[in-house]
């Protein structure tokens, strides 16, 4: 693989994803094949069995809710039974089931239980295909962003998703770090930066300490159920209420088609109001009038003030979360050097106003908030693969994303390796017993930010036995954590006096077993081979079909003559032209299924034409 092979940066979002690259030294967003810069992170199996990814999946998300998977990012790398998964199960309309080993989450889609990595892989594969269409050549390498609070398991799942999508994931980087990179921060500055990220489904606030190309995420806060969709819902509720009031109590929420259009209309109006003071919402023939009456229209004007009134409490929540995060980190608003806005919702003037009031300064708006994270990832991808000018290198080190440690008495969490420690690393701590004559201890290895062990992620556990019987507190147990350059964590516990030792090795996993991952990758290879075979088949079929098309075309004059002598079948030529048009379109599009579907009509047309041409021929010929 050459260094000239393209590298892409991907912002794999909860609601929308963006892909970018660096071209001729300039970071640019790659539009998808429909010309849009944002691709909804949504996968669906439509009611006709077709797999949809992106905007089309979104457009049927309400009418086909059970088979439309969105917000998979909330579930990636999560354990079955965790609070996050339980919350998601209550909120999501699609079915979640435990994985084969009962510890990860699967989504029931199209009759299969798919790992969350597989769902994310479908979105990544779509972005990859968009990038390949844009570059005109294969794309194999990517940098993918994740929230700063993602643990090793969630990062590994994201990497697996990239692998399934056929991408070599050069690096997983934190979203706030990526945003800061896009602004070029870190080269000649040392300051605190707040990244205010109000996306479609989540709100994240990160405080970064930046200096000398070191990006330290010192605090993270947020609300995983607060985002642009909540703003849309407020507009939808207002529209539903006013419509019911004006139309004898008709509840639009009872009609999925109406609700889908209502959501699309509400989102569109909300976006328009970032640039204008009023927006029109016209939804003709929205819902049946009942009792055989004509369908009803919805036509409303939404003023910016009204939107602000409807969503005031949501903006207040964002401010409160930000204040709490600053307080937890011991940072005062005036100490913040820059505020970066990320996420489409931050384009709302009222949100910008709230940020300005909170920090007492104008937030950075130089880079589009929807694109900033992907652009930063593209810059990092470029830095990793292309030689950088001396002194301008931006090198992100692999660091531990969260604290690593043990559960200690009282159910508390004791940190052994703090977060943001550069790997590889090794740390040793001494622990002791809590009971007299205690001969064994349980070593529970955890990762997380909480002081309470139960709130953190359990990576593994083991029992150290054969401890010398003694009064409590008299036994010294040495616990060592080693993290290799590959991110593999080794934990060992040793009775200092007896030398009795036990250890465990923890590798971040996505929930997919090795075997499953191999099977999925094999399937991808099979798909590739099948595609190649199908291309060969298509070539052959195309030749056969075009021969029939030519034969029919040659028969047209004779058939026209025959039809002139009868009252019947006047539309035969027209129908045949329809068939030929469809066949030609299928040939042009290389659509084998469409060709196959038309084959019978084509054959029938040929037989009919042969028959008609024969009857129309003068006797004796």
């Amino acid at each position: 693989m050459s260094d000239l092979d393209p590298v892409i940066g991907i912002d794999l979002g909860t609601t929308n994803s963006v892909v970018a690259t660096v071209r001729d030294g300039v970071p640019v967003v790659i539009p998808n094949r429909a010309g849009q810069l944002l691709t909804p992170s949504i996968v669906a199996i439509a009611k006709n069995g077709k797999r949809l990814v992106g905007a089309l999946a979104k457009r049927q998300a309400i009418t086909n809710a059970e088979s439309t998977v969105y917000a998979a990012k909330r579930l990636i790398g999560r354990r079955w039974g965790s609070k996050e998964v339980e919350d998601a199960r209550r909120a999501l309309p699609y079915a979640l089931v435990p994985g084969p080993e009962g510890n990860d989450v699967r989504v029931q889609l199209g009759g299969r239980a798919l790992a969350i990595s597989e769902i994310s892989a479908m979105v990544l594969a779509e972005l990859r295909a968009d990038a390949e269409a844009w570059f005109g050549r294969p794309v194999r390498r990517a940098v993918i962003t994740v929230p700063a609070y993602f643990n090793d398991g969630q990062r590994q799942s994201t990497k697996d998703a990239g692998l399934i999508a056929g991408l070599e994931v050069l690096r997983i980087i934190n979203e706030p770090t990526s945003a800061a990179l896009a602004y070029g921060f870190g080269k000649q500055m040392e300051k605190k930066v707040v990244v205010f990220d109000l996306g479609g489904g989540t709100f994240d606030v990160s405080i970064l300490d930046i200096g000398k190309s070191v990006y330290d995420v010192v605090a993270v806060g947020g609300d995983t159920y607060l985002g642009g969709e909540d703003f849309d819902r407020r507009v939808m509720d207002w529209l539903t209420f006013t419509f019911a009031k004006e139309n004898g109590g008709i509840d639009l929420r009872q009609d999925k088609m109406a609700l889908q259009r209502l959501r699309d209309g509400a989102e569109k109006a909300k976006c328009e109001l970032s640039g204008s003071t009023a927006a029109s919402i016209h939804l003709p023939f929205l819902v049946g009038g009942g009792d055989g009456k004509s369908a009803l229209h919805l036509a409303k004007q939404l003023a910016r003030e009204k939107l602000e009134e409807l969503t005031k409490d949501l903006i207040d929540r964002c401010v409160a979360v930000t204040e709490r995060t600053l307080k937890d980190a011991g940072v005062r608003a005036v100490q913040v050097g820059e505020v970066i806005l990320v996420g489409g919702m931050t384009r709302m003037p009222r949100v910008q106003h709230a940020v300005r009031e909170l920090f007492g300064k104008e937030p950075c708006k130089g880079v589009h908030p929807d694109e900033v994270v992907a652009l930063g990832a593209a810059i990092q991808g470029h830095a990793l693969t292309a030689p950088q000018p001396k002194g301008q290198e931006v090198l992100l080190l692999d660091v531990t994303p969260q604290n690593l440690g043990l559960m200690v008495v009282g159910g508390y969490f004791s940190t052994v390796i703090p977060k943001n420690t550069t790997v590889p690393t090794s740390q040793t701590h001494l622990f002791t017993t809590v009971q007299d004559n205690q001969t064994q201890v349980r070593i529970a290895v955890l990762q997380g930010e909480s002081e309470r062990a139960i709130d953190n992620e359990l990576l593994g556990e083991f029992i150290l036995d054969g401890i010398r019987p003694a009064r409590r507190g008299e036994v010294s147990i040495e616990v060592s954590f080693d993290i290799s350059a590959d991110g593999i964590v080794g934990v060992s516990a040793r009775d200092v006096v007896t030398g009795q030792e036990q250890s465990i090795t923890v590798t971040a996993t996505s929930g997919l077993t090795e075997e499953e991952l191999r099977r999925i990758l094999d399937e991808q290879r099979d798909d590739l081979l099948e595609r190649k075979q199908s291309e060969r088949d298509l070539g052959e079929r195309r030749g056969q079909v075009l021969a029939i098309v030519r034969e029919i075309e040659e028969l047209v004059p004779a058939v026209t003559g025959a039809l002139e002598r009868t009252r019947f079948g006047k539309d035969a030529i027209q129908k045949a032209e329809g068939v030929l048009a469809r066949v030609r379109a299928a040939v042009a599009a290389g659509d084998q299924a469409a060709l196959q579907a038309e084959e019978e009509s084509l054959e029938r047309t040929l037989q009919l034409f042969k028959g008609l041409a024969a009857t129309g021929r003068p006797p004796g010929r």
Binding site: A34, G35, A46, K47, N48, K50, L52, L56, R59, Q60, T63, N64, D255, K256, M257, A258, Q260, R261, D264, H282, L283, P284, F285, L286, V287, G288, S294, A295, L296, H297, A562, L563, R565, T566, R567, F568, G569, K575, G578, V579, A581, R582, R584, A585, A586, A589, D591, A594, S601, L612, T615, G616
Partner: protein, 298 residues
């Protein structure tokens, strides 16, 4: 005569028939035959109505051009002659072998299909003699039946002998059988929509009816391909052919409104089928109607 009027009459007739308003249906079909004496669909319905409801429908005097002439041995469908020959209209006959089950549902069955009650004998009927010895009736050069030829050639006698002798009434056939028979007949006549409506009625009563399911599939597939043929290639992108502000003045239902809202100049037909959430047939029908009404264009 307007094609639209004729089509409207046929629709009215079918709707009345399906609603059980047989007299209205018969009247509508007969008016249709007055407009277009060769109309196979109207004839088919009249024959079926006479066949399945003689006890409840007062005979309606047929118009001269609409004499239901049983042609022994004829299949229950209109067969088109090869180009260059004179058109021959074969009408379905009640109770004739090879006719549809709706025809077989007649309460005045042929002697072949049902023996007379014990001790009674019917007069011999030409129906007993197999295929008609008389020639087929031909259309005159101006189109329509040659009524004089019909009068001359017809030797058919009344099915119910004079003197009050008649066959014992048949046990009533179930609605399902009648509907299914009628659906098959409509299918054969090329009225797939009418056939589908009846099949759906059958399946409402008996959702596991295998034959009805087969007809449902065939009807739907045929209708889908008919509608799709009006759309153009599946990867064509439809566009609004009128101004957006004119959409409000159309006469659409909310499903058509939903589909129309998805047409944004970016989405092709195949994608519309996927995201409509409606059965393919409904989507194809709505789109075909939008094209026919000039609302969208490919």
């Amino acid at each position: 005569m307007s094609v639209a009027d004729l089509s409207e009459l046929i629709d009215q007739g079918i709707k009345a028939y399906l609603a059980g308003r047989v007299k209205d249906a018969l009247a509508a079909f007969q008016r249709a035959l007055e407009l277009d004496p060769g109309n196979a669909k109207a004839r088919g319905y009249i024959v079926r109505i006479h066949a399945i409801t003689p006890a409840t429908v007062a005979p309606v005097a047929p118009s001269p051009a609409a004499v239901p002439l049983p042609s022994p041995g004829a299949p229950g469908a209109v067969t088109l002659p090869p180009p260059g020959t004179r058109a021959v209209v074969r009408l379905p006959a009640p109770g004739v072998a090879g006719a549809s089950s709706a025809g077989r549902a007649a309460t005045a069955p042929s002697a072949r299909s049902r023996p007379p009650p014990e001790g009674e004998e019917y007069d011999p009927s030409p129906w007993d003699e197999g295929p008609s010895a008389t020639g087929t009736l031909v259309l005159d050069s101006a189109g329509g039946l040659d009524l004089d030829a019909v009068a001359e050639k017809s030797d058919i006698r009344p099915l119910v002998p004079e003197g009050g002798r008649g066959p014992a009434p048949l046990p009533a056939r179930s609605d399902v059988e009648v509907w299914l028979g009628a659906a098959k007949e409509l299918f054969a006549l090329g009225d797939f929509t009418g056939s589908l409506e009846l099949i759906e009625k059958v399946l409402q009563v008996d959702p596991d009816h295998g034959e009805a399911r087969e007809y449902l599939t065939q009807n739907e597939a045929t209708l889908v391909s008919m509608y799709e043929s009006k759309l153009g290639p599946p990867y064509a992108v439809p566009r609004l052919a009128i101004k957006p502000e004119e959409v409000m003045w159309l006469n659409l239902d909310h499903r058509a409104g939903f589909l129309l809202a998805q047409i944004d100049g970016m989405v092709d037909y195949e994608a519309l089928f996927a995201l409509s959430g409606l059965p393919r047939l409904d989507t194809a029908r709505i789109l075909a109607n939008l094209i026919a009404d000039g609302v969208i264009t490919s």
